[in-house]
Symmetry: C2
Subunit: 468 residues, 2 copies
């Protein structure tokens, strides 16, 4: 079971910058009880966007995903995931964590015959050309992921790649495509029906950033041999734990409340996510989307303008001790830092007893694992010396079971935080706003007027400033 | 020449959230003139830590680097850089930008016979084991980088790898090591002398985060075939431009002043760095270190406690339009966003005219390059609609010449910002603080007392909270 240690956000440790944990747990116990009760009560109701809370119990999805993975086993050298934002970040973060390091550089044998995996989550022409240069499309399975099928970036990627596959493979190209999309509506569903692609479903009422445990995340993971049964087991256990309405027993509620009050009462507007593990390097990216898109809202539920939102910030231990930590300690005291600690790594590496007559001789004969954990201790005590609030989440080790717990913990925590802030955690109005401008600039029908306005705006702005 | 467009931070465009550019340029012209004059006057004086301003003129370094690269040409399949923070981020960011995409996955031929390159900037035991698993150490050149030789992380990595090389290669292992370190002092210099490694120098009075254009950054780049003469040409041109003491002609001064006043007068405590290019994915990491460590300071030059420091935040376009942008637009208005725009990519990719009877038909027949630039325009106008200040730096294209300009621009800008904030931009006291704790926990001689204190502190904190 993963653990949360909130010692170092307490006013007993860091004085006025900290919280009176006893007091806030008592004060918020009824509100937390109400929030958790409501979440569990509403999770099946349409329009609440809480269906992600049921993803641990969709046995048929797991079954279909495993069946498909078994069916294509050995057929492909590469999996190419086309998707952006929530359609890619979960799979990316989990595969980076759960596959052997440097997976794509390993021999097929070292990969136990599973394929390499690539996530294309941008439209950089040089990156796409480079990728097409290294992938044999005949031996590549493309998993295109977009619920609506109208995501311009993903569809543009798909159009380019599908066209090349068609040319290369003739009508057989279909066998190299699997689409994850809405169960009946949208452009990609229409195309899949017409052209005959294998499909998986992005379930209704599951937002992109909460979709990692649907087919969106599970399919790519299963295709490279990750044990999705263990993932489901991790979610289920965490779901049981987090159903507990008692704040003293629910770490998602504790962490949500601490972050909420750190923001509101202590001016900690920035939430730093700092795993001490290279395998978790993309976890902060997934967290950043979840926290930023869910909590960054202009209006509260009553329609009052509030411009809410703590800012997530990505970091990595120990690397960032030599980069961002100087600022975290001595700069504005506006951050709450979360360490992720891995108790046991898969490997233990001894630092040999060499260089005995030099100043680094103290390292010899100790493991580098010990150095890693010494660094977390050193960093967290340093933060306390500077009165900087910090929390530690501990994972017994990195595997499917514990990572599923970690990701699910953060989903629940985000939902609870949304309620504490009294905002809708499941919308993203400004993303839509920017999309419309993009459509306009790409001459999409129906956006002509917006396009003219936009071009005039840009030209006028430059004129005002005497530029161009 | 790279360009800065500050249209969208002006109060003409975003109202009260913006700055009166005319007024501030007039008001600060004398101060900027003084700062730039002083920087150029002091750059050769010891103790000012401004020697990085001379790195474009050290012809002998460039010569030695090129000579060594030519000498080992064809001998190695891999370059492995051991270093952390400033010893790694510059080389990492520049090699990612300047090498062909997916470099380490290319055939040797596609790499024009140059080696693959790996930066090991962490001490994760699983990552190190994984790396040792894929590298043939006989065909690997290790470039170990630490000025003092006492950086525990880098030296621990080096001890593990040197020991294996020794075992594998006998006394020939020396030929596979090149050390970049102090010219005469420190543990690594001592070892290099005793064991006979080829060495390069980290120049005096050049801090880690300003060392990218010394041998620290140039050597790894030259070893994989990057044109360091073009890099030097880029720095020199930029250096001339930035010597201009007139704020109206010096974009480093403009950007420093705008960021300074956005922080101090407009409450924009966060500086978002958002390149629209996959090749620039590590540029925000380099920038984050430079900006955070340089400006995040507890005391000003007069020793008054100020807890200074805007927080740099990493982002990537277009990807983060589906992740962090919702928060940037609708959350707290506490950010200034910098777009990096690439005018011309190396490749132009056409989106084919397929799916003509669907809602994505508007994409067909246009280039994905056009979509990329439409997205920046859409994002920047959206930011303006939400009254969020944003700047754009444009690169004509991505190559050695323009990237050197970009990196050098930011170094100068950081130095100017340090003066505006009246802080010492070239120290990092809190990093040292945390290092001492690490030494203590690793039983380094002389740190016993500190170790006991530290362990008691950790135990006591947990006791207070009733944990453990």
């Amino acid at each position: 079971m993963i653990k949360l240690d909130y010692t170092n956000v307490s006013n007993n440790i860091i004085g006025d910058e900290g919280l009176d944990i006893e007091r806030i747990f008592n004060e918020y116990a009824p509100r937390i009880q109400e929030i958790i009760t409501n979440l569990n009560m509403n999770k099946d109701k349409p329009g609440y966007w809480l269906q992600w809370m049921n993803l641990g119990y969709r046995e048929e999805t797991v079954w279909y995903v495993k069946e498909f993975a078994a069916m294509v086993d050995g057929r492909f050298d590469n999996i190419l995931v086309l998707g952006i934002g929530g359609s890619s970040l979960g799979g990316l973060a989990l595969s980076e964590a759960l596959l052997k390091p440097y997976w794509n550089l390993l021999d097929k044998e070292q990969r136990d015959n599973f394929p390499r995996i690539f996530f294309l989550d941008n439209i950089d022409p040089d990156e796409i050309s480079g990728l097409l240069n290294i992938l044999d499309l005949k031996k590549t399975l493309v998993n295109v992921i977009t619920k609506s099928g109208s995501t311009a970036e993903t569809m543009a990627q798909f159009m380019i790649i599908k066209d090349r596959m068609h040319e290369l493979l003739g009508d057989d190209y279909r066998k190299n495509i699997v689409a994850t999309t809405d169960k009946q509506a949208g452009i990609l569903r229409q195309l899949a029906n017409e052209e005959g692609y294998k499909t998986f479903v992005v379930p209704d009422d599951v937002g992109g950033r909460f979709s990692v445990f649907s087919a969106v995340g599970l399919l790519p993971l299963a295709l490279v041999g990750i044990d999705i049964d263990e993932i489901i087991r991790g979610i289920k256990l965490m779901d049981l734990t987090l159903k507990n309405t008692d704040i003293r027993k629910n770490i998602a509620a504790q962490n949500a409340l601490i972050h909420f009050l750190m923001d509101k009462e202590k001016g900690k507007y920035i939430s730093v996510m700092m795993p001490y593990s290279s395998k978790l390097k993309y976890f902060p990216d997934w967290y950043a989307q979840l926290w930023a898109e869910s909590l960054g809202k202009a209006y509260n539920k009553e329609g009052i303008e509030i411009h809410n939102g703590p800012t997530p910030l990505k970091a990595r231990g120990v690397t960032d001790q030599y980069s961002q930590m100087q600022l975290f300690n001595e700069g504005k005291n506006d951050k709450v830092i979360t360490f992720i600690r891995v108790n046991e790594f898969d490997n233990e590496l001894m630092i040999p007893n060499i260089f005995e007559y030099t100043g680094v001789n103290y390292l010899g004969g100790k493991t580098i694992n010990r150095l890693m954990n010494a660094e977390i201790d050193a960093a967290s005590v340093t933060f306390c010396d500077y009165k900087r609030p910090n929390l530690t989440i501990s994972l017994p080790r990195i595997n499917e079971y514990y990572l599923a717990q970690l990701f699910y913990l953060y989903e629940i925590q985000t939902a609870i935080a949304g309620e504490l802030y009294n905002i809708d955690a499941f919308s993203q109005p400004s993303t839509e706003h920017s999309k419309d401008y993009t459509y306009a600039l790409m001459d999409r029908l129906g956006y002509e007027e917006s396009a003219n306005e936009l071009r005039e705006k840009i030209a006028k702005n430059k004129e005002i400033m005497g530029l161009n």
